[in-house]
Amino acid sequence: MNTVLAGRLSSSLLSQGLKSGIGIAIGYMPVAFTFGLLAKSSGLSLFETVSMSVLVFAGASQYIALTLIAAGIGALEIITTTFIVNIRHLLMSASISEKAEADPKWLKALYSFFITDETFLVAATRNEKIQAAYMLGIGIIVYGSWVVFSGVGYLIGAGLPTILQESMGIALYAIFIGLLVPSAKTSKKVIMLAAIAAVINSILTFASTMSTGWTIILSTLIASIVIEMLWKGEHQNA
């Protein structure tokens, strides 16, 4: 073990990451819990349910896979749909690479597994560069919550009151709003980016037959490019 690597994986950065991840970990609990509950009613075994959370670790596509499995859809179509839903991670990964510290490639590959909408956003809306130890910290706590509560939901989910089950659907949106508002308070550019993408995505969702995966990618790209053209010369405080 060389000292350079030990420096990269400093424990203070790791615990910073763990701290930043707590909010997301709590937000994931109800979502993972509900996933476990639905997996059971879709006919998956406990082993398959937990395996999906361990190996895939991507909420939206796991939900969609359950719907497809329950409908008896074939393997190839499930995998293709998963790919389309998750292709937006390409954008996030590229965006992180713009902010990433020069860590070794294997380390980047390792923490890239933990890129989700929420972990990406927490890391990307911070002012600092993205370091491997920090991302691993967020990843460990959030991943742990996702995997454990998928299993818990499978085992005891059906016993929960419906009102609570329905209310939990708000959790991820609360995270998104909680991440957007502080940045939007200080930057008009942030407000414009979010507003334009929101409008385009709403139009595409209601007026086209494109799947959610594609509408999010397209609206994000259009908003990011248009604003970059209008805001030239103001690169510093994005």
Binding site: I22, G23, I24, E48, L55, V56, F57, A65, I69, A75, I79, T82, N86, H89, L90, L91, M92, S93, A94, S95, S97, E98, A100, K108, A109, F113, D117, F120, L121, V122, A124, E166, S167, G169, I170, A171, Y173, A174, I175, F176, I177, G178, L179, V181, S183, K189, V190, L193, A195, A197, A198, N201, S219, T220, L221, A223, S224, E228, H235, A238
Partner: protein, 102 residues
């Protein structure tokens, strides 16, 4: 039959990991033009907008639940609450409304 799901899950895992990993490992940032870098910096905020709308209106059959939850989260976030508090407060507000209405 049940055994085959494991292969579906492994397939899902592969096609999910590749887009996560590839740009981060393969991009050489010093060779990327400033305009593209600017666009990549914009991505987080744009994607937030797209993830919130229209999903927040449609996640429940009753759109009001999403709207009320969104307003609660917005107020909490505007007052500077931490992410944990924002999540808990918005779940709580919807549960309370559910109890009152029923």
């Amino acid at each position: 039959m049940l055994e085959s799901y494991i292969w579906v899950i492994i397939g899902m895992a592969v096609v999910t990991f590749i887009p996560r990993m590839l740009p981060l490992v393969a991009f050489q940032m010093d060779t990327i033009p400033p305009f593209v870098r600017g666009v990549l910096k914009n991505v987080p905020y744009a994607i937030l907008g797209a993830l919130i709308f229209p999903g927040i209106i449609t996640f429940n059959e009753n759109s009001w639940l999403g709207i009320i939850g969104a307003i609660t989260a917005f107020i909490a976030a505007y007052l500077g609450a931490s992410l944990i508090i924002i999540v808990l407060v918005s779940i709580l507000s919807l549960s309370l409304i559910g109890f009152v209405l029923i």
